[in-house]
Symmetry: C2
Subunit: 338 residues, 2 copies
């Protein structure tokens, strides 16, 4: 079967790879309907995150169950399913507390930019839609596999809710879907921090009430200006750099909440600043599985349209162009048709 392999920074290829097989009785193999390129795939692609030799890549997937192991009971061949970047048993104490991405048995399905994928712990990882969805819903379900679930977790971690002012740092797919999540969770005011017009536009469509184009200290000053000098109640951080983390923390009022989901790179937080900021800090790899049933329902009923974040669609074989377009910020997010 065909699938992507990242050979070195900037060198992504679609190659013939082994067809995945059931290894453990809790596995499923799915035939992918669509996959995509994640902002976090760009870290190794850009050489910022070190890699050990060529590696299959991709961790966002939806598709039709092809085969299941003997112990799988909750999904069956023919069903359309959505999973996420960490497989989880969904039964351990950590999963039951809602942190499936820290499941004691967690492992990552690897190489999801491909025709087929083996998903471990299928019962605890995959969620089926009520029926095979119409084609136009596939991008939205694919978004639920990571970026929607991640933006949603960020909003929940930031304790977004009715009456609150929310600021969103980062205008990638996760940040934009953080705006959508904030709207769904009842935020009164949603400030999107973006200087890119197409992204500003999508942020407004998703429910942003204000756009702030300034960054860093100027961005913080602008958020303060919009919030009686206090800062936002809830801030979603969806980048992962030192600058964006500080921008998020400093934009939050004392007692407010920062939900951070941008995979952190070279971030060191000064204890004294954090101490006196009085903010709540929570985040990490989103436990997408916690939210999948609810997100699937919202998409199935066409209440939300997270699939709009895909502004580029290419066949799997053109994955290299998809990476380039995202790296150069020509595309917010690229969907790969399988």
């Amino acid at each position: 079967m065909r699938g992507t392999v990242l050979h070195a920074p900037g060198d992504i290829r679609v190659e013939e790879r082994d067809h995945p097989k059931i290894i453990a009785p809790t596995d499923a193999v799915i035939r992918l309907s669509a996959t995509c390129v994640c902002g976090s795939d760009l870290w190794p692609y850009r050489g910022i995150q070190k890699m050990d030799g060529p590696s299959p890549i991709g961790h966002e997937y939806v598709g039709i169950v092809e085969e299941v192991g003997d112990e799988v009971t909750s999904v069956e061949p023919g069903q359309f399913v959505i999973g996420s970047f960490f497989a989880s048993d969904n039964t351990c104490e950590i999963c039951r507390a809602g942190y499936q991405s820290s499941c004691v048995q967690r492992e990552g399905p690897v190489g999801a930019q491909a025709e087929y994928l083996r998903v471990p712990l299928a019962d605890g990882t995959l969620v089926a839609t009520p029926d095979v969805p119409d084609a136009d819903l596939v991008p939205s379900f694919l978004a639920a596999s990571d970026v929607l679930g991640t933006g949603w977790f960020a909003a929940v971690a930031a304790e977004v809710g009715p009456g609150k002012t929310v600021a969103v740092v980062g205008d990638g797919a996760v940040g934009l879907l953080g705006v959508l999540a904030a709207k769904q969770l009842g935020a009164e005011r949603i400030i999107a921090m973006s200087r890119h017009e197409p992204r500003q536009k999508l942020a407004m469509e998703y429910g942003a009430t204000d756009i702030v184009t300034e960054r860093g200290d100027e961005g913080v000053a602008k958020i303060k200006e919009l919030t009686n000098g206090l800062g936002a109640h809830s801030v979603i951080e969806a980048v992962g750099t030192q600058e964006s983390m500080l921008q998020a923390i400093r934009s939050t009022r004392p007692g407010g909440h920062v939900g951070y989901v941008g995979v952190t790179h070279d971030v060191a937080l000064d204890g004294t600043e954090l101490f006196f900021s009085h903010v709540h800090l929570h985040g990490g790899p989103a436990p997408v599985r916690r939210f999948l049933p609810e997100l699937i329902d919202l998409i199935w009923r066409r209440e939300i349209d997270p699939g709009k974040i895909f502004d580029l669609e290419l066949p799997l074989d053109q994955a290299a162009e998809a990476y380039r377009a995202m790296d150069e910020r020509r595309a917010i997010k690229a969907l790969l048709r399988v």
Copy 2:
């Protein structure tokens, strides 16, 4: 009047200082019944926190209202009152959210190791007891002024509650009163991390169910061993060093909560470790005012006895010996009779 002045590291003196006066119409002047030395006073005393010349010191106080400004309505001369290290208006949006120690008008009453103290924003800062208390209750009310309120905030920030396992890093007064708070808040299991026998004993009296003497990575391993390999649900950090913060974060299970109240010194938190830890992090200067009414009630009804943490009592004039005893860890906390 007499009061302490820290001249240089290790050089604390009791000197004649100006008798405080009402400056603003919202001020009160109180005649102190007792004051004490705080763990955080030891930072400048030890020369770890820089100081600009000689400075009055101390921020924990209880006493009788001597005089109030024209606008003060909630306390009156003759009442026994308790305040805390930051004065707050208790009416701004931040105060109403429970973060009085980040009040938009906050200022610190300074130099509380003295006979008299001016307290700004008296209405929003001071809380009176139902009547002038019996002498044996004074140490407990004094504890409420900072260390009890701080330990309590740490437990609340760590989301301590029924069914939860709590670990406490730090066996100073705040850590020990964090144990007391955890017990009051219904924790199922309370693990005190301490290697000092008298402190272990007090921790057990306050409700600790387990004592862990190991520190650092070994301490973390021990906490994991006691919690099915997962870590505690809630961890109270009451020291403020890099080692203690990491010990707290690493002792917490994914999805768990760290409440940190040790004033941080030279702490830098690695973003990647924090990200993948999946913990909630919240803390800072405790909004003691939020908890004072409840704490005063518990003490007045003799349900809790936080005054036990004072294991040394000296007249104000012997403040230097009080500092030495705490610095050398001969005393947990020293009360100064005024």
